[in-house]
């Protein structure tokens, strides 16, 4: 036995798994885009890898690339675990994703315009009216309100997964205040600085123009007759789990990061309180949920928002991005109708598949769900971060009984789907490579048209066998390379 091989990294030819492996094919050979990376990994020494990983983690901590974990000690800061083995997407794969996501976001925008105006899709009974009206994020305040350039969803994060055959599926749309782009930007930067050798032999599309593109679309949707619009980022404040991201985007766009208390509304116009008096605000990229935006309209106890903002918005004096009421489009119960929206508004067939979803408000489908809990995933439509979910195959009888009870009680709050195996990707765990499940969140920007920058977040479930990639549940992230064509 070669004595040196023990120090080498690559014993990565992992036992073949049921799920789709992003890096290796069924015979254990690296897929074409991964050949070069696999060769590089083979020649690395374990000690070197470890020390690079350590220095990357120190960099992330010192930069403050952290998120806040609640529930434990009040507001503990953590570095989102970063895995140095990158995920690679070819130009062709990306072109497909790009087309699919742009199509979806166009349809979602058309849907939002429609449900707050003509309601064509409801009148033609393509989507049940009561389903839309019962969405907690449906905003009656938005009925009849025109938003600049008819854009509701300015920024979307669409979660994709790959099943065991390698087919891509949309798992969910996030069209309220999707987060994660800061990790995309930081991951690339720390990997390039901390592990340059991995990039050998690759032409990776850069991600660092994302903030400039974001600013461009935000300026594009400014109220009319404001040629030099003042754009701000609205954050709930330093205790918010995504504060790092809010600050980063504001900094990179060169615009103010503001809290609700920095803003004031007078004559239906929003102003900033500055050391030199009031200064008008035209566009608010808000990272505050609808419910907290304006205590006059929404939660009266909110101190995160701005009193009078909604009136200024409805008067057309300020643009809020994403628009208020977009949550009706990413409601889990609405999800199954997105292919229908694509056909209805765009007269196209969906490029990306959706996961088959059972509507529990339909008694027939509910009966089927209740009879097959063991093989299904049941999701609470109104909790996120991987909470409130039943993973049928790994559940206990008691858990299933509990879900059966609440399902029968409040079917509108739940959806059920077959279990889709997430694809896996070699990931560095305790100094060796191991198979871990991943998803993919590309971001779409919508101004004059929908664009999908080659900046996607790969989240990875670091716990062995886990299918939950959320950062609150032990998830980490990977740098994601979109290759030049």
């Amino acid at each position: 036995m070669d004595g040196r091989s023990a120090d080498r990294m690559l014993d990565v030819r992992l036992a073949s798994t049921a799920e789709f492996d992003e890096m290796y094919d069924a015979r254990g050979e690296p897929r074409p885009p991964y050949v070069s990376l696999a060769a590089t990994l083979t020649h690395l020494e374990r000690g070197e890898v470890q020390s690079r990983v350590q220095s990357i983690n120190t960099t992330l901590l010192q930069r403050g690339v952290t998120f806040t974990v609640y529930k434990e000690e009040l507001g503990t800061e953590r570095v989102l675990p970063f895995d140095v083995v990158p995920r690679i997407l070819t130009a062709d794969e990306w072109a497909h994703i790009e087309r699919g996501i742009a199509q979806r976001v166009r349809a979602l925008n058309a849907f939002l315009r429609d449900i707050y105006h003509e309601e064509r899709i409801l009148r033609e009974q393509r989507i049940p009216r009561e389903l839309v009206y019962s969405c907690p994020h449906f905003a009656r305040e938005m009925i009849g309100v025109d938003v600049p350039r008819d854009v509701y969803v300015h920024i979307a994060g669409v979660d994709l997964i790959r099943d065991e055959r390698g087919e891509l599926f949309v798992l969910e749309d996030n069209v309220r205040t999707p987060s994660g782009i800061s990790y995309v930007l930081e991951n690339r930067d720390v990997l390039k600085r901390g592990f340059p050798i991995l990039f050998a032999g690759y032409a990776v599309r850069p991600v660092d123009d994302y903030p400039a593109r974001l600013l461009q679309i935000l300026r594009h949707v400014a109220p009319p007759r404001r040629p030099e619009p003042n754009v701000v980022v609205l954050t709930p404040g330093i205790y918010n789990s995504a504060y790092f991201e809010h600050a980063m985007l504001a900094r990179e766009m060169g615009i103010e990061l503001v809290e609700g208390r920095d803003l004031i509304v007078a004559d239906n116009t929003v102003y900033l309180k500055t050391t030199r008096g009031l200064s008008r605000v035209d566009v608010i990229y808000r990272r505050v949920d609808d419910d907290f935006l304006d205590p006059l309209y929404f939660r009266a106890d909110s101190t995160l928002g701005v009193t009078g903002l909604m009136n200024a918005y409805r008067s057309g004096n300020v643009t809020v991005a994403n628009a208020i009421g977009t949550g009706a489009a990413d409601d889990k119960a609405i999800y199954r109708y997105v292919p229908e929206m694509i056909r209805f508004y765009l007269d196209e067939e969906p490029v990306l598949q959706s996961v088959p979803t059972y509507d529990c408000t339909d008694p027939k489908q509910l009966r089927h769900v209740l009879a097959n809990l063991e093989s299904l995933v049941v999701k609470n439509a109104y909790s996120s971060g991987g909470y409130g979910m039943l993973m049928g195959p790994s559940s206990t009888a008691a858990e299933r009984a509990e879900f059966a009870r609440v399902l029968a009680e409040r079917p509108r709050n739940f959806i059920a789907q077959p279990v889709i195996e997430l694809s896996s990707h070699p990931t560095l765990i305790d100094g060796s490579l191991a198979s871990r499940r991943v998803d993919l969140r590309p971001f779409a920007l919508c101004g004059a048209d929908v664009e999908v920058p080659p900046a996607a977040l790969t989240r990875v479930a670091l716990r062995e066998g886990s299918l939950v990639v959320n950062s609150s549940q032990g998830g980490g992230s990977k740098d994601t390379w979109v290759l030049q064509g």
Binding site: P236, H246, R261
Partner: protein, 315 residues
Amino acid sequence: MLSRVAESFYWLARNVERAESVARILDVNYVRAMDLYATHDGRSERLWRSVLRCAGFMNDPASEPNLHAAAEALTYCAFAADNASSIRSCVRIARSNALAIRAELATEVWETVNVLYLFVESSNASSVLRAGPSRFLRRIRDATQALAGVADAVLSHGEGWNFLQVGRFLERAYMTARVLAAIEVDDEPWAESQRLLEMCCASEPFAKGSSRSPEARDAVDFVVLAADFPRSLRFCTREVDRAMHRITFAPHGTFANDAERRLGRLRARFDFTPLEELLVLGPHAFATEATIEFEELGAAIETTYFPRLPRAVAG
């Protein structure tokens, strides 16, 4: 600039400057106290009491903790969470202000603050004492001085930077006044004037500037009135005044608000009053009055620029 942002620049600078002053004061006195290890004549206790007067409890002498041993005083001044002027508290406050203006701070500035914070949070009193506090205190000083340098070198010298200058020099003047108020120059003129110079980082500049064998009065003169020494009351007052005028654009010699009026009066006092006249009631009375003036100046700056905003509530 947002008022809230200006305020965070100001408190960031004040707290970092205070951490540096406290670190220097502790270091000077810890080394001096080692000369008094085996003495039992009360000198050691007196020394630590004076340290606590300038670096420990700040405004309420009634809260004076009964900590007159080196280890206890050092622990209190460096790590106590209930002491808002402890190094740890100052660094925490500085860091949360830096976080609040993360979008305005250049990344290199933020990282300097964050690295300092991570260092202090990973240190504790017992390990610091075991290793001898000098190393720890030295790193605090290095980091705080690096911050001033990085801020000067990478931030635009606009409004935010000027608020940093206001905070930094106001705090520095305030700490110099506190140190002056805490020494007992009448009891041991030579030793106490040396201690004063060291605590103000003034020994070497002072030695360079004095041709004859110095007297206690010369040391006081230096830390109060030296025109070019960057920790003297006169120098610091001038810097605060300049930064304020860069913010308001008011012509020199005039004022745009109450804070600038107070500053003009203070500047005239330090620029044109002979030391004998300033010290007519003795150095202690002078220094005590000066600390009050700087506190009132701080309050005037806050009222002018940071009208109370409702606090954000998490969640």
